[in-house]
């Protein structure tokens, strides 16, 4: 019987790291799901290499999964880890800068041999040379013990090694007092056709747990009590999955079949994967020959009456520019999802950045205004994908939805909404039998034209990319008409401001400093502002970029200083300065493919307030 005591913790950040083939993503998700079931709030982020199967043991082959759990509100996957599980020397090497001083490091000592150290570019053994002084290092022979546990299992050597991640998970389960049942059940289901493998994994999991208990890897283990979470039914959801589901929900709500034209691109491809699973909702999915075909197929479907969507990442958005202009000109609904990644060019495909804002707002030929929105958490990708679709079909013009790799691949618990609780979507479809209709006549409130679908008798008409007459939609080169149409298209987008919520602030209603952000930095900024104690500070986060919420200027006026924080060189700042030249915006930027850390933000905020 263990003599270890149990201590209570508010929150903890755990990082699982190993070789691409070590199953770290699965290990991390298991720990996440078990913690969610126990009622913790949490956020996760996978961090894996762009290479699919990088050479074993190398630093560029390291795959990581970070999870932040707590009994307090958790808004980010955490800046640095309190616990690191390093399955080999390379995993330790790449994570040395991402762990807190005094952190607990569990290493699989079997993968710290001379050859492993060499591959990881350690000049000497970090376990012996003082590198890890000040850390609580647990040297566990994970590989050896896994082999030992499974020596009579009848599994081949390779299959045995595949179980070692469960040993590590068992150790962590003991450290944080988590039950094994959820993962045992998961293994039974996953390997339903292969019970030997399921049993082997379960055996190793239990062995890891007992090992930790027996050797008392820590003087005490920990418990993180459930968080105060709103009542309801929850699930974990990843950002890209939430985007896909938001679109499906909008399809059901609007009665328009979903149509996706898309070309695979990191980190957006999971939306294509997810939507491809749900053909039973009548969703038509085309994996097109290129980015341009993806959007053009969607535009063709929009013309015929579908809820049309194309999904991509930065370089793909660049390729789609001309076609977005066509949808703006033809006044057809279309949702363009851009899961941003580091740029320019191919850039940092698996890293996060917010540098496509200017491209989304302005990146087309001619005066071609598009509605631009941004999601800010993995789960609100659902809400904003839904709203992007709603606004697009109701206003008959394209919407660009910006998410990013950090949101798309991140996950968090999500209170499951009921379809009844979502707003209605009313596409302006022209019903049969209307007389005196003109293709470009529009309603006063939204300035949207009616959607006259091919196949409806009597409404045969032509649309296209040439400038249109204001009313008939016939080709028109009349100078005054062109100016009128250019102004109308801009005004139509600005009218959307009457249909979106006002900007709200978190923190002081007025004060010394307003922290402004947009999109995926929500978690970091909210956490940092909440840690500013008694400072006169507030956080305003933008989900609607174009148009901005109507009360934006009024909010800005309530604070003596404003700092706009972005993972780019200041694109939103530039945009705001153009709209509000009377306001002074300071800026704080980071362009490393990484999110802000709480520390760097609070340091900056204190500095600004003190100035």
């Amino acid at each position: 019987m263990s003599t270890a005591k149990t201590q209570e913790l508010d929150k903890v950040v755990i990082k699982f790291a190993g070789d691409s083939g070590d199953g770290m993503q699965l290990t991390g998700s298991q720990f996440t799901d078990t913690s969610a079931l126990l009622g913790n709030d949490l956020a996760t982020f996978p961090d894996y290499p762009a290479e699919i199967r990088a050479p074993q043991g190398t630093t560029f082959g390291v795959s990581g999964f970070q999870v932040h759990i707590g009994n307090v509100e958790i808004n980010t996957p955490g800046d640095i880890a309190d616990v690191l599980i390093a399955m080999n020397a390379a995993a330790l090497k790449v994570n040395l800068t991402a762990i807190r001083g005094g952190a607990t490091i569990i290493v699989d000592i079997d993968n710290f041999k001379h050859k492993d150290l060499e591959k990881a570019h350690f000049d000497s053994d970090p376990l012996e040379d003082g590198t890890l002084d000040g850390y609580n290092v647990i040297e566990a022979p994970i590989t050896t013990l896994t082999r030992e546990v499974l020596k009579d299992s009848g599994l081949d050597g390779k299959s045995v090694l595949r179980c070692k991640n469960m040993f590590a998970l068992g150790i962590v389960y003991w450290m944080f007092n988590r039950p094994l049942e959820y993962t045992e059940h998961f293994l039974d289901t996953k390997f339903i056709k292969n019970p030997d493998v399921a049993n082997a994994n379960k055996k190793v999991l239990v062995a890891g747990y007992h090992y930790a208990e027996t050797i008392e890897v820590l003087a005490s283990n920990f418990v993180i009590p459930p968080a105060q979470i709103e009542r309801g039914v929850y699930r974990n959801i990843m950002g890209n999955q939430a985007t896909a589901w938001g679109l499906l929900a909008a399809s059901e709500k609007s009665g328009r079949k979903l149509f996706l034209g898309s070309y695979p691109i990191t980190p957006a491809t999971d939306i294509l994967h997810e939507l491809s699973k749900y053909k039973q909702f009548g969703a038509k999915i085309v994996q097109a020959e290129d980015e341009i075909a993806g959007i053009c197929i969607a535009i063709g479907a929009s013309f015929a009456g579908s809820l049309a969507v194309t999904t991509t990442s930065g370089p793909g958005l660049a390729l789609k520019s001309e076609a977005i202009g066509l949808a703006i000109m033809a006044e057809l609904p279309l949702v363009i999802v851009n899961v941003q990644r580091g740029g320019p060019s191919t850039g940092l495909p698996t890293k996060t950045e917010q540098a496509d804002l200017i491209q989304a707002v302005y990146g087309r030929n001619g005066e071609s205004p598009a509605i631009v929105m941004a999601a800010s958490t993995p789960s609100d990708c659902f809400d904003f994908a839904f709203m992007a679709a709603k606004i697009s079909v109701e206003h008959m013009t394209p919407v660009i939805l910006l998410t990013d790799g950090y949101l798309g691949n991140g996950s968090e618990p999500w209170k499951i909404p009921n379809m009844k609780s979502l707003p209605d979507i009313t596409p302006p479809i022209l019903k049969e039998g209307v007389k005196d209709w003109e293709p470009y006549e529009r309603d006063a409130e939204r300035m949207a034209r009616l959607w006259a679908l091919p196949g409806t008798p009597g409404y045969e008409h032509r649309i296209g990319g040439l400038e249109k007459d204001f009313l008939t939609g016939d080709v028109s080169y009349v100078p005054e008409n062109h100016e009128k149409m250019v102004r109308m298209r801009e005004e139509k987008v600005q009218h959307v401001a009457n249909f979106i919520p006002e900007l709200e602030v978190y923190g002081k209603h007025e004060g010394d400093l307003l922290v402004v952000g947009w999109g995926g930095t929500y978690g970091s900024l909210r956490t940092a502002v909440s840690q500013m104690g008694t400072a006169n500070i507030a956080h305003a986060h933008f989900n609607y970029i174009k148009p901005l919420p109507k009360n934006t200027l009024e909010v800005f006026g309530r604070y003596s200083k404003i700092v706009v924080c972005e993972l780019n060189l200041g694109q939103f700042t530039k945009y705001l300065r153009g709209i509000f030249p009377e306001i002074t915006f300071m800026q704080y930027n980071k362009i490393q493919g990484l999110p802000f850390t709480t520390d760097e933000l609070t340091t900056k905020f204190k500095e600004i307030i003190a100035q």
Binding site: A36, K279, A293, G300, A304, G305
Partner: protein, 339 residues
């Protein structure tokens, strides 16, 4: 396709828009031939959609009193694909040119044929860029002198038929603007084919490439220069149809009936429905002056269409599915309750 009560005349398909093509442009003949083809077909007027890219021929939808979409350069094939898939009941016609389909839109052109989307593609081939005022196109013969090739082109041209058959197209036909009745007839056959139907229309640009097909279409040479094929009929041409094609090893040759003991029975019979496309490719590739140019429906085979595949997958998945609404999806898999 649907039960059609109404009888249409060509006037029903003429729009009120002023025609802006140059006087004498071959496009007008194509437009007239199509106006006359549509009443012969089995679709309701509201089910026709004409989708074009950019170029002279892409003005076409404005002159059709049907649904129409004049889109962007090269992308009409992709947009047509989307429209057809979204509503397979529609009769979708893509109107494109040699620059639009084979240069900037080359990828969409080949992929659409490969997928076999059930649309009709009218490829206006005048071997020149008209709207940008006379540059060579991917179908211009080597050596063509234009404003952008004052010393003659040095690139080798595409032959649309070869390209299409290389993409495993299921329907390829060739017509020419000077023979409107034949065009109408081929358009009707293109429509009745399920799958992507490509009709290459040799079309004269009076301004920038006038008489480029004169060695085929001039009345004096026409009989020897054109071979009109018909499924099940021997491939004959020439005045009094005395010449025909025979196969010598792997090569087509011209034989004259009555010479060297050749009778009509020796002449190859056209089989448009043959799965093997070797002979179709050879026919599509025949060139002046050694051979006549082959016109009519060269290939017409039945293969599953993409749009049908999309629909039947939806049907199969729906039948097998246990999650059939968003509310069911939202609570599927692992969930937990906070009380």
């Amino acid at each position: 396709m649907e039960n059609q009560a109404q009888v249409y005349s060509h006037k029903d398909f003429e729009s009120d828009q002023e025609n802006r093509w140059c006087p004498g442009c071959g496009d007008k003949a194509v437009l007239n031939a199509l106006h006359r083809a549509l009443p012969l077909l089995d679709h309701k007027k509201e089910d026709y959609v004409f989708i074009s890219g950019i170029g002279c021929s892409s003005r076409f939808p404005y002159y059709m009193n049907t649904y129409g979409f004049h889109t962007i350069h090269g992308r009409a094939a992709a947009i047509s694909t989307g429209t057809k898939l979204a509503n397979p009941k529609l009769s979708v016609w893509e109107v494109t040119g040699d620059g639009d389909a084979l240069a900037i839109g080359g990828n969409h052109f080949i992929q659409t044929l490969r997928r076999n989307v059930d649309i009709n593609i009218l490829l206006f081939n005048n071997e020149i860029y008209g709207l940008t005022k006379g540059q060579f196109s991917p179908t211009s013969e080597k050596g063509t002198v234009t404003k952008s090739s004052p010393h003659g082109t040095i690139d080798r041209p595409f032959y649309p038929g070869e390209l299409a058959i290389g993409c495993r197209a299921t329907f390829f036909a060739r017509v020419v603007d000077v023979l409107p009745k034949k065009m109408t007839d081929v358009f009707v056959q293109a429509d009745s084919h399920r799958g992507a139907s490509l009709v290459e229309i040799l079309q004269n640009c009076v301004i920038f490439n006038d008489k480029v097909f004169a060695n085929i279409t001039d009345k004096e040479v026409r009989d020897d220069a054109m071979l009109w094929v018909e499924h099940g009929k021997p491939m004959l041409f020439g005045t009094d149809l005395k010449k025909g094609l025979i196969l010598n090893g792997l090569k087509l040759e011209i034989a004259e009936i009555g010479k060297n003991g050749i009778t009509e029975k020796d002449i190859l019979v056209h089989d448009a429905h043959c799965d093997d496309n070797t002979l179709h490719n050879m026919l599509a590739s025949l060139k002046r002056p050694e051979f006549p140019v082959v016109f009519g429906v060269i290939r017409d085979v039945v293969e599953p269409t993409f749009d049908h595949g999309v629909l039947s997958q939806i049907e199969e998945v729906t039948k097998a599915s246990t999650i059939n609404s968003m509310d069911e999806l939202l609570v599927s898999g692992e969930t937990w309750e906070i009380k």
